[in-house]
């Protein structure tokens, strides 16, 4: 093989490899993005059913209930405008509390109940998960425009 055709093969192989890698990355990216919705958006039907997404807000006061097994927990996430009922089985994070911010990831059932596979709470006492803060802010803005 001549040096020139060797080089061509090397470059060609490299380009093919890169193209395959880019295709892989982009398709994985498309399939695995998890979108975030506020409780208000979920109530308005903007959230997908059957697909994983996240909801953020406050854990509503007095909403935490445990089933008899002690492991399945029901609670509600609110952005102060709308309330979404959530069920979750597993250990809750240390900082999960009523009246505090939380983010849940899971799917929305046809009954309007959100089945969480993951519950994230704040990292420390003062810090609110950004998604939760965002949801409250949105609801607050919406509330103001309605009242005007």
């Amino acid at each position: 093989m001549k040096a020139r055709s060797k080089r061509l093969m090397l470059v060609g192989g490299g380009v093919a490899l890169l193209a395959a890698a880019v295709a892989l990355v982009l398709s994985a990216f498309q399939q695995n993005l998890v979108f975030f919705h506020t409780p208000t958006e979920v109530m308005e039907g903007k959230a997908p059913t059957g697909k994983t997404f996240r909801i953020g807000g406050l854990v509503e006061d007095g909403s935490i209930q445990r089933e008899a097994d002690g492991l399945t927990v029901r609670f509600a996430i609110t952005d102060t405008a709308k309330v979404i009922p959530v069920s979750y089985r597993g250990t809750l994070p240390d900082l999960f509390k009523e009246g505090k911010g939380a983010v849940v990831q899971g799917t929305l059932g046809p009954d309007g109940q959100f089945r969480a596979t993951e519950v994230l709470a704040k990292h420390d006492e003062n810090y609110m998960p950004p998604e939760a803060a965002h949801a409250l802010e949105q609801a607050h803005k919406a509330g103001m425009t309605v009242s005007q």
Binding site: A21, T91, D124
Partner: protein, 657 residues
């Protein structure tokens, strides 16, 4: 008074950094010996002042001087001494000071260990490092002064985040920073080479041990961080593809590519322009990683808006470092053509392939990490990119890397024959695939993931031993032990690090395939069966620590009536912040960990107990230890020292003249 002294020392360090950045570079350009000679003392003086400043800040933490803002927000009079000391870097300002101190330490190390470098080259390297230091100290002095006073002083501090009050967090940040910052040396060598246009084998040989040592620190730092997440976060995961982790993993991937690319540049003179680009990228990504983690952008992009000065400074610094070095690269790189040519089947090709793949992996991790931040910053919506994306990308891209990794050492540089290598490695390949399929069925987990993982691990382990056997057979004459002793340390380093990758893959694959988890509601005295073990919950007592109140459970672990361990997980509440924390308890073994953590207490006095069975997780850490040891061996190879000795007389003569 002491904080003011620290602040003043930092100002003096800034002045010395300015001298170190400007004078030697001007001297090198004008070929002025006395100006170049300023490099060493300026760098060493700067180091002393930074260490002094760091000592002053530590003093404020140890003595609980809560008139220092940073101590008031990150320490508490009841915090154990160890965590008062480590609390210094558990925050933005203090970690910047630690960063500057590691940079200074690396610079001093260069002045001490690279005496054999030509004076002009050395002056340029130290000058470039001076510029980086200048940027960092300026950033601290202008926007993030660690010595800011709080007047009037707080009566009590707010304590260090309890998650960071852990032995793992004592060594993780310094290791990680030594790794991040260590790439600044390879970066400075690359920039110095771009300035002079000198890119010979000597340049690559000088850069190699520095890059390898930085890589060793980074590997160790990431591994310790991962271990910390495993036992401290309370649910037994060891890697989350969290932006904070990715920030350190991206420079690791590029640094790994750089280490290998430098090898080709040294041995064959090839890939020179690619090596320079990698050196620039590795350091730039380290900078980006530091800022991502420390500026608060990850928790909220809008944290930038609350302190625009800080955000703008960071962006400016990044743009200057990346922009100037890329401009220099664009100007000089066209001169870097040539170098050794090589055939399609050669060690050079396998290294090139792996370099490109590692760069693609790094880019895809970077994409997944930054994309949500961009969308959020532009108010285009909030998304998160979780582990499924990273796994979907990482596994297929790293598979060929692992395969090629073991092909390379069997091939000759420049040109080799495909047929011969395939014939040599075919048996190992067949046995690997059979092992993968066999093990997957044997452990009752016949998934693609398990088959692929075990096959790859078997491939690495088998070919490693085949490589060792071949190496011993190649040498003519002598006994096996005499042939063993002729193998250079660098070869053992390569062998051990690659072998470590195999061990690591075994751990990752098996823990992912056959781990199990059970959350239980337990009463005092209750027993449960879990993963072949019997778990007995003996109850909970109060057990208060120096700065926290805790409930401590006692759980007996036994198997077939034989006691194995007594585990005592805790649920703590740190008094200063009122922050609850789960402290898991582990029974660590070679083939499995049993991991127990305490969940909530239920109204009736029962507790939720979370049990994890983690097979082969120790192999993940063992793999990392092999990689680290391999790196140390490679960097300690005699030929780097021989080089120093050989050129030492010439250097001494130059000094005398």
């Amino acid at each position: 008074m002491i904080p003011e002294l620290g602040h003043f020392a930092l100002v003096l360090a800034f002045v010395l950094a300015l001298v170190q950045a400007v004078v030697p570079l001007v001297g090198a350009a004008r070929n002025n010996q006395s100006m170049m000679a300023v490099a060493r003392p300026a760098a060493q003086g700067q180091f002393l002042f930074i260490v002094f400043a760091y000592g002053c800040l530590t003093w404020a933490f140890i003595t609980s001087d809560f008139s220092v803002q940073l101590a008031a927000t990150n320490s508490h009079s009841e915090t154990p001494l160890m965590y008062k000391i480590t609390g210094v870097w558990g925050n933005h300002e203090g970690s910047l000071l630690l960063w500057a101190m590691s940079l200074s330490l690396w610079t001093v190390a260069v002045t001490v260990f690279s005496r054999n470098l030509p004076d002009a080259f050395m002056a340029r390297v130290i000058g470039v490092l001076g510029f980086v230091s200048l940027g960092f100290i300026a950033f601290m002095l202008v926007t993030s002064n660690p010595f800011d006073r709080l007047l009037p002083g707080a009566p009590q501090g707010r304590d260090l985040n309890p998650l960071l009050q852990d032995p793992g967090m004592i060594i993780h940040p310094p290791l990680l920073y030594m790794g991040y910052v260590g790439f600044s040396v390879a970066f400075a060598f690359a920039i110095a080479a771009l300035l002079t246009g000198r890119f010979d084998a000597a340049w690559a040989r000088w850069s190699r041990p520095w890059t390898t040592v930085a890589w060793v620190f980074l590997t160790a730092g990431i591994a310790v961080g991962s271990g910390w997440a495993y036992y401290e976060l309370g649910w037994g995961g060891w890697w989350f593809w969290d932006p904070v982790e990715n920030a350190s993993f991206i420079p690791w991937l590029v640094g790994t590519a750089l280490m290998h690319s430098l090898a080709v540049t040294e041995k064959r003179g090839a890939f020179r322009s690619w090596t320079v680009l990698l050196a620039i990228s590795a350091f730039s990504l380290s900078l980006l990683g530091t800022f991502l983690v420390r500026s608060g952008v990850i928790t909220s992009v809008h944290a930038f808006a609350t302190d625009p000065a800080r955000g703008m400074f960071i962006l400016a610094l990044l743009v200057i470092v990346i922009g100037v070095s890329l401009l220099l690269y664009a100007w000089r790189a066209p001169k870097l053509t040539g170098g050794g040519s090589f055939g399609l089947v050669s060690r050079d090709t396998t290294l090139l392939g792996n370099n490109v793949l590692l760069a693609v992996v790094a880019a895809s991790v970077l994409l997944g990490t930054l994309y949500p931040l961009f969308l959020d910053a532009l108010n285009l919506g909030k998304i998160s990119v979780g582990p499924p994306y990273f796994e979907a990308v990482f596994v297929p891209l790293m598979t060929p890397v692992v395969v090629l990794m073991m092909f390379g050492p069997f091939l000759r540089w420049k040109n080799d024959e495909m047929g011969a290598v395939v014939r040599r490695l075919a048996p190992a390949a067949v046995v690997s695939v059979l092992t993968g399929v066999g093990v997957a069925f044997a452990i009752g987990n016949p998934t693609w993931r398990t088959m692929l993982g075990i096959s790859l691990a078997a491939w690495v382990v088998l070919t490693s031993f085949q490589l060792l056997a071949a190496r011993l057979k190649d040498r003519h004459g002598g006994t096996t032990s005499s042939r063993l002793s002729t193998i250079p340390a660098a070869w053992w380093g390569m062998w051990l690090a690659h072998f470590g990758v195999g061990i690591f893959i075994i751990g990752v694959t098996l823990v992912g395939s056959i781990e199990s988890n059970l959350d239980l509601r337990m009463k005092e005295g209750q027993q449960a069966d879990f993963a072949g073990y019997t778990v007995k919950f003996r109850g909970v007592v109060e057990a208060d620590g120096p700065n926290y109140d805790a409930m401590r459970a006692t759980i007996d672990l036994s198997r077939d009536g034989r006691a194995i361990a007594t585990l005592q997980p805790e649920k703590r509440v740190y008094r200063a912040m009122g922050m609850p924390m789960t402290e898991a308890a582990l029974d660590i073994g070679v083939f499995r960990d049993v991991y127990v953590s305490l969940g909530e207490q239920l109204p009736e006095g029962d507790w939720i107990v979370s049990l994890h069975y983690k097979p082969f997780i120790s192999w993940i850490w063992a793999g990392c230890i092999f990689m680290v040891l391999g790196g140390i061996l490679a960097a300690a190879d005699r030929r780097y020292r021989r080089l120093a000795e050989r050129s030492a007389p010439a250097g001494a003569a130059a000094h005398a003249a």
